[in-house]
């Protein structure tokens, strides 16, 4: 084997080493990127959003909560949205919270005179746990089922008792209507479920 062949082999070896290091760095960086933003339960962001809301309108009340990023298995999300309504301004303003900071604040371009949420509502993790406990086995049998949305409000989905504050969990199923599960946000009981 001549000197040129040796040099070519050394060159290829160096390239392989560099490529290996690059792949390793990418693999190491991927989980770090996922950890850039920590998931949290819905309640953790309420106080920050409320503080902003009362700066906007002193009579602002929390009327709606929704996950702004996907919900994990413990009912946490990287970003939650909180909607406040001001009766005096007749306006609603939403705050999106991530990593303990408000990343977006915007007025809702629609009339939305929702009633204020009751105090003491259970957190998103407890609501999801209640559904898992009540209907976990049934849900597990549905192929492709995915929890897409958790929203907290008072009124529209509670036919029998619209005054109760309730979590609505919305599961999507491929090529089927979504599955809605309603959890009472005060006593933590699953009230009903329906397809829609």
């Amino acid at each position: 084997m001549n000197r040129a062949t040796h040099a070519a082999r050394r060159g290829r070896g160096t390239w392989r080493l560099a490529a290996g290091i690059a792949v390793s760095l990418v693999l190491l960086a991927a989980p770090l990127a996922a950890k850039d933003h920590a998931a949290f339960a819905a309640r953790s962001g309420v106080e920050l959003a409320r503080e902003a809301a009362v700066a906007w309108a002193a009579d602002a009340v929390l009327v709606y909560v929704e996950n702004d990023e996907s919900v994990d298995g413990s009912g946490s999300a990287v970003r939650w949205g909180y909607l406040f309504h001001s009766p005096s301004l007749e306006k609603s303003r939403a705050y999106s919270v991530r990593d303990g900071k408000i990343v977006t604040a915007e007025n809702l371009e629609m009339r939305f005179e929702a009633p204020a949420l009751a105090d003491g509502w259970i957190d998103s993790g407890a609501a999801l746990a209640a559904v898992e406990k009540e209907a976990g086995k049934t849900l597990a049998k549905t192929p492709g089922l995915r929890l897409s949305t958790m929203l907290l409000m008072r009124g529209p989905f509670q036919d029998g008792d619209p005054d109760r504050t309730a979590w609505t969990l919305i599961y999507t199923v491929p090529e089927q209507p979504a599955l809605f599960v309603l959890v009472d946000a005060v006593d933590g009981k699953v009230r009903r479920s329906w397809r829609g």
């Binding site: 906007w56 709606y64 929704e66 909607l83 303003r93 939403a94 999106s96 604040a105 629609m110």
Partner: protein, 276 residues
């Protein structure tokens, strides 16, 4: 020079010593000021979608709300939501009155004790003193609740002040607009102009603001500018603190608000050690 293990140990020792000395040094308590950029074009920030389901299903949700809405019947019966704390206050007041009755009864009983000398009655006195202690503790608890409700609530605030006076132009008013759509216009009086010329500082705005990164729009109106051009300054008011923004008008010329220089700092209102 080749490093021996002795050198390595010596360097490590010196580094540790320096770190300990830095940690032990007294910390200087100062309000750090920072210059902020005045921009002619409103800065763009990344926008995140929020309450997506609600927006996508707005008609459906509103229809459901409309079904729940009560129909007006002509009779008036408006009532505002009562803050649950105020309901608690009436209970606390009732407890205060009840405690006062208890204290009065205890005082009367104590007066009677002067006529009694038995050991059993002295024991009763001790029980009554314990009861008064408990009542005092309860009162302290109630005062604590009031203190938390009315003195412990700090909110994020912004104070905007102006200083300096431009040479060769007259500023008639200064407008500050927040991202939520609210705005404040301060029309300068002759006295305020004179004060600014003499080195005074004028407060333009003092109010609660949202604790988040946001752009404040500033506009100067005066004889120099037919159509005043606004400028934007981006701030991130710290939560539960007072953020100051100081505008220097002395540099203002043809460009209007964008010619101003600005500085910001956070007001440190914590008590010095020993006063808390």
């Amino acid at each position: 020079m080749r490093l021996t293990s002795f050198h390595v140990r010596a360097i490590a020792f010196l580094t540790l010593g320096a770190a300990l000395a830095a940690a032990a040094a007294p910390k200087v308590h100062a309000e750090a000021q920072a210059e902020v950029k005045m921009e002619r074009i409103k800065p763009e920030r990344e926008k995140y979608e929020t309450v997506r389901f609600l927006k996508q299903n707005r008609d459906f949700v509103r229809r459901r709300f409309d079904l729940l809405r009560e129909k007006p019947v002509g009779a008036s019966g408006d009532a505002g939501a009562i803050d649950p704390r105020y309901l608690e206050y009436s209970k606390m007041l009732a407890a205060v009155l009840a405690d006062r009755d208890s204290v009065t009864r205890a005082a009367e009983a104590r007066d009677r004790l002067t006529l009694l000398a038995s050991i059993t009655e002295l024991g009763q006195l001790e029980t009554q003193l314990d009861q008064m202690d408990r009542l005092l503790a309860a009162q302290r608890g109630r005062l604590g609740i009031l203190q938390n409700d009315f003195t412990g609530r700090q909110q994020t605030a912004l104070v905007v002040v102006a200083s300096g006076w431009p040479a060769g132009t007259t500023v008639d008013s200064i407008t500050i607009a927040l991202e939520d759509g609210s705005h404040t216009t301060v029309t300068l009086t002759d006295a305020q102009r004179a004060s600014l010329r003499d080195g005074g500082v004028l407060q333009l705005f003092h109010g609660f603001v949202e604790p988040r990164v946001q752009a404040f729009e500033l506009t100067l109106a005066g004889s120099r500018w037919a159509a005043p051009a606004p400028a934007w300054v981006t701030l991130d008011p710290a939560r539960d603190r007072i953020t100051f923004l100081k505008l220097d008008l002395s540099t203002v010329a043809q460009g209007g608000a964008a010619d101003m220089s600005a500085r910001t700092w956070i007001h440190d209102e914590s008590l010095p050690p020993g006063d808390s």
